[in-house]
């Protein structure tokens, strides 16, 4: 009975508005999320291991390595400064790499998208669901460095509860960026170009390990175009105190980044999947 109900429901939507037959359908997004979550159950250990250990090593190495040379940076204890900054590093690493490689592998080697697109799911929904899922993971893993920093003496603050949300929005943008890259590039070897020219500078010049205020003027201006910089600033302000309108601008920049990357990712992957 419900089968018949479902059929007529779909048919009705299809008949009413042909050009927009159920775009961004919730059941389609949920279906792709279920696929991602089910697969995650088979590899979560290794992913969680890498996503927690990597930023912790950065935090400990920089925090205590540099921390022995400089005790305070921009008015904060260096360990606290790096501890809050590496939240952004964790977000970047746990979103951009899984999405770049994951999308490419699913497209080229596993032919997963052919299977999904044979069901009532469109590329727009695939991209949205996969970016959402990676963003959720980034929102979770992103908190690890902060928790480690708290263990090493960072004072916990109630405002820190928004950090997963900041990490989620930033992670969504980077996940979409990764999907876009995988959609645009022909070979997985070409990912090296993106890593070297975009990801490494983004990661280093975000204010994570040293404040951008010490850089030349042009680099500071460029820094404002780095979404990771906005992530770092927001996390730090959640931990040390908000800065009013400036933080609102940081939020706006992150949301804008996420939205633009989302649309670009959809366009790039659609071009790859639908001929």
């Amino acid at each position: 009975m419900s089968n018949v109900g479902r059929r007529s429901e779909l048919a009705r939507t299809g008949g009413r508005n042909r050009s927009r037959v159920g775009r961004l359908d919730r059941p389609a997004i949920a279906g792709v999320l279920v696929r991602e979550m089910t697969n995650f159950s088979s590899y979560w250990r290794s992913t969680t291991f890498a996503s927690t250990i990597d930023p912790t090593i950065y935090l400990l190495a920089f925090g205590f390595g540099f921390g022995s040379l400089v005790s305070k940076v921009a008015g904060y204890d260096y360990v606290d400064f790096v501890g809050t900054g590496t939240v952004a590093t964790a977000v970047l690493f746990s979103s951009v790499f899984p999405s770049m490689f994951g999308t490419f592998v699913k497209y080229s080697f596993q032919h997963t998208y052919d299977a999904i697109l044979a069901a009532p799911v469109d590329t727009e929904e695939i991209v949205t669901a996969e970016a959402l899922w990676i963003a959720m993971r980034a929102g979770t893993y992103g908190c690890v460095p902060m928790l480690v920093a708290i263990a090493f003496g960072l004072d916990p603050r109630i405002d820190m509860l928004v950090v997963p949300l900041i990490a989620f929005v930033s992670g969504f943008g980077w996940a979409a960026f990764g999907i876009m890259v995988a959609g645009l590039l022909k070979s997985i070897d070409n990912f090296n170009y993106v890593t070297s020219t975009v990801i490494t500078p983004t990661f280093l010049v975000a204010g994570t390990f040293f404040p951008l205020s010490g850089l030349p003027q042009w680099a500071q201006v460029l820094g404002n175009f780095n979404p990771l910089h906005h992530t770092v600033e927001l996390v730090r302000h959640a931990a040390f105190g908000w800065e009013g309108w400036a933080d609102l601008a940081h939020v706006g920049a992150l949301v804008l980044f996420a939205l633009i990357m989302w649309r670009f990712a959809i366009r790039a992957l659609t071009r790859k999947l639908i001929t």
Partner: protein, 304 residues
Amino acid sequence: MTSLSAMPELAIRLRGVAKRFGEIVAVDGLDLDVPEGTCVGLLGPNGAGKSTTMKMLTAQVIASSGEIEVLGYTLPEQSKVARAEMGVVPQLDNLDTTLTVEQNLRVFAHLYRLGRAERGPAIERALKIANLTDRRKSKVDELSGGMRRRLLIARGLVHQPRLLLLDEPTVGLDPQVRQELWALIDALRSEGTSILMSTHYIEEAQRLADSVTIMSHGKAVAMGPPAALVMQHAGHEVLEVYGAPARLAEIEREAVVSGMRTRRTGTSVALMGIEGHNGDLPDGVRRAANLEDVFVLLTGEEVA
């Protein structure tokens, strides 16, 4: 849904469908009908446009021109609604290999939008069809090639589609597994599922299809029930004559002069429709004409 009421008997209807990739014309004005409840075989050599045609039916390839209707829905606009009611079994195995048999089916029960209460019974039914109930907890990695192929079919059937697209369903499988799959496909057809099956195995089409469309260079060059096509193009009986290449060439020339159709089989020359021939025939082995004779006659002996 005026189109549905006007054409209730066709599960798939293609008219003048073409697909160009730059200079290359993959499909060139194809007409194709799949009447509801029948199995149609799409037969053709590699590069004939079969796979492109199959992908147009799920709107992964968008036609350059022509009309496509699937289950009464116009493509590509209403493709998503059509996809909800059809199942697809791809040529390439794209199962999630680290998941279990049951998990693979469960994911697709979600993707095909089955309700919470429907999913469990749907998975059980699919497991039963594919004879994989005992292997439900096995990871795909641990399955044999035949089991994986059965799981692919079960995955495409989890939502009880009205139409099934099978893209080269038995390619690369050993004869026992192929027979097992043929029985499965035959059972589906007898239950009323409409099936479009692309294949380049002639025997597969001859055994399973109510009707075949033979494609060559993107066009349909013949269509009809296998037996009728054989009768029309190759007659009742064929004589296969063996010998040295020079001798075969001579026989071929003589046969053509006397108005017979011939084809090479690799090791022999086959003279077709010998039942209607009055003159002397060379020594050879008589056999019934088959769909392979028609296939080679119509799609050419040269390998593209």
